[in-house]
């Protein structure tokens, strides 16, 4: 089962930012998205995750196969590490958060409230959510923000295992993850020319 994008155009704030994006992602592959700030990496990932509609083009993916890792980790500060992770496991219908806790080096922090975690620890917890989602296609938006070098290496290991287990990942990142096998997709050739105004914008006079 492949993840295929054909002739995709995506818009942000009513303005088309990327057009003609083509990509095929097979199990075991990783693709790194590159491009200047504001080129539309996050918009592309949100569109692929199904959070916003595409202007044109098709996205073909197996049903219920995408796990989206956003800028925000979706953590509840008054819940403990274990409770946060167990919630996402229950939502995704998987069991056993133990391996994910151990894998992301969070086992010692399990009873700590998320409010008391450092930024890097929060991010590790956010990434552990991907492991308990049990989904093969990871769409990651700057996954290494606020991680130290040891944690980046840890995450690269997790990613490598995920790929070896038949998963795939599409990652927007600026730093080198240490994944030589990953393909790099430069988004600059797909930049929309002329800033076509999309017709779907809302007129929000009162807001």
């Amino acid at each position: 089962m492949e993840f295929v994008i054909e002739d995709l155009a995506v818009a942000r704030g009513g303005v088309c930012v990327l057009e003609g994006v083509r990509l095929a992602l097979s199990p075991g592959q990783a693709v790194i998205l590159r491009g200047a700030n504001g080129i539309g990496k996050t918009t592309l990932l949100r569109t692929l995750a199904g959070l916003q509609p595409a202007l044109r083009g098709t996205i073909t993916a197996p049903p219920e196969s995408i796990a989206y890792g956003a800028h925000a980790d979706g953590l509840k500060s008054v819940l403990t590490v274990e409770e946060n992770l167990a919630f996402w496991a229950a939502i995704h219908g998987t069991s056993g958060i133990e391996p994910a806790l151990v894998r992301m080096n969070l086992a010692d922090l399990r009873d700590r409230r998320a409010a008391n975690l450092s930024a890097g620890q929060k991010r590790r917890l956010g990434l552990a959510r991907l492991l308990v989602s049990g989904r093969p296609y990871w769409l990651l938006d700057e996954p290494t923000v606020s991680l130290d070098t040891a944690s980046v290496a840890l995450f690269a290991d997790v990613l490598r295992d995920h790929l070896a287990a038949g998963g795939a990942a599409l990652i927007a990142t600026h730093i080198d993850l240490g994944l030589p096998e990953a393909r790099v997709l430069d988004l600059s050739p797909f930049k929309a020319r002329g800033g076509v105004i999309a017709s779907r914008g809302f007129d929000e006079a009162f807001l």
């Binding site: 949100r46 995750a49 199904g50 959070l51 916003q52 509609p53 219920e64 995408i66 796990a67 989206y68 956003a70 800028h71 925000a72 980790d73 979706g74 953590l75 509840k76 500060s77 008054v78 819940l79 409770e83 167990a86 919630f87 996402w88 229950a90 939502i91 995704h92 219908g93 959510r129 807001l207």
Partner: protein, 218 residues
């Protein structure tokens, strides 16, 4: 789904969840009205059904903006939208959780506050029953308003403006049930209409709310 309900209840009960805020507000309204209107039992008994219902409605309104705003801010809503449970179900569960922590305590506290307002004895049963039937509808309608205003800064005020007019039918029929019940008249018609509004809101609004959320997440 059950995990979401448990999580929402846990969040409401822990520090900063705002649990009890609505109940305290309801209590204050019921205490302040006799102070303002005066202690005459007959006057209070006459206005008690209306005051209790308006109080319950405003107390319900207080915590509405928290239904989705907190989840929107920390990114949980994005992740729930991509999770395997339908967004309509998420909305329905969150409205139910809101009712459990806001509406249900109001229902339970209302008879005690009825004493403060000299509610005639015959009215107590109808007060509890009408609130029990009406408040789930308030939570469902409120969740719709919260979904519409979720991305907005200071959406709380706009939320009140949107939701209060939608609360009018529930208020009219709810207060009417108590008024008639207290006077010993037949209550079937307003009671059935009240139940109808609640059931209709529960059935239809989660779909509208989910659509509003999807648009706001874009």
């Amino acid at each position: 789904m059950i995990a979401l309900l448990i999580r929402d209840l846990r969040l409401a009960l822990r520090a900063g969840g705002g649990f009890g805020l609505g109940l305290a507000f309801f209590l204050l309204v019921a205490v302040l009205v006799p102070l303002g209107v005066g202690p005459e039992g007959t006057t209070l008994a006459k206005i008690a059904p209306g005051v209790l219902w308006v109080g319950a409605l405003l107390a319900c309104l207080l915590s509405l903006d928290r239904i989705f705003a907190l989840d929107f801010e920390d990114g949980t809503l994005d992740l729930l939208a991509t999770a395997p449970i339908p967004l309509e179900g998420v909305v329905a569960i969150k409205a139910f959780a809101h009712w459990l922590v806001t509406g249900l305590p109001l229902v339970l506290a209302a008879p005690v506050l009825g004493v403060l307002l000299h509610l005639p004895q015959a009215g107590y049963g109808w007060l509890v029953l009408s609130l029990l039937l009406g408040t789930p509808g308030l939570s469902a309608i409120g969740a719709f308003g919260a979904a519409l205003t979720v991305g907005l800064k200071r959406g709380g005020l706009l939320l009140s403006l949107l939701v209060l007019p939608l609360y009018v039918p529930t208020l009219i029929f709810g207060a009417e049930v108590v008024k008639r019940g207290a006077a010993g008249m037949a209550v079937e018609v307003p009671l059935l209409l009240l139940a109808g509004i609640t059931l209709g809101a529960q059935a239809a609004l989660p779909f509208a709310s989910a659509l509003a959320l999807r648009i706001n997440l874009r």
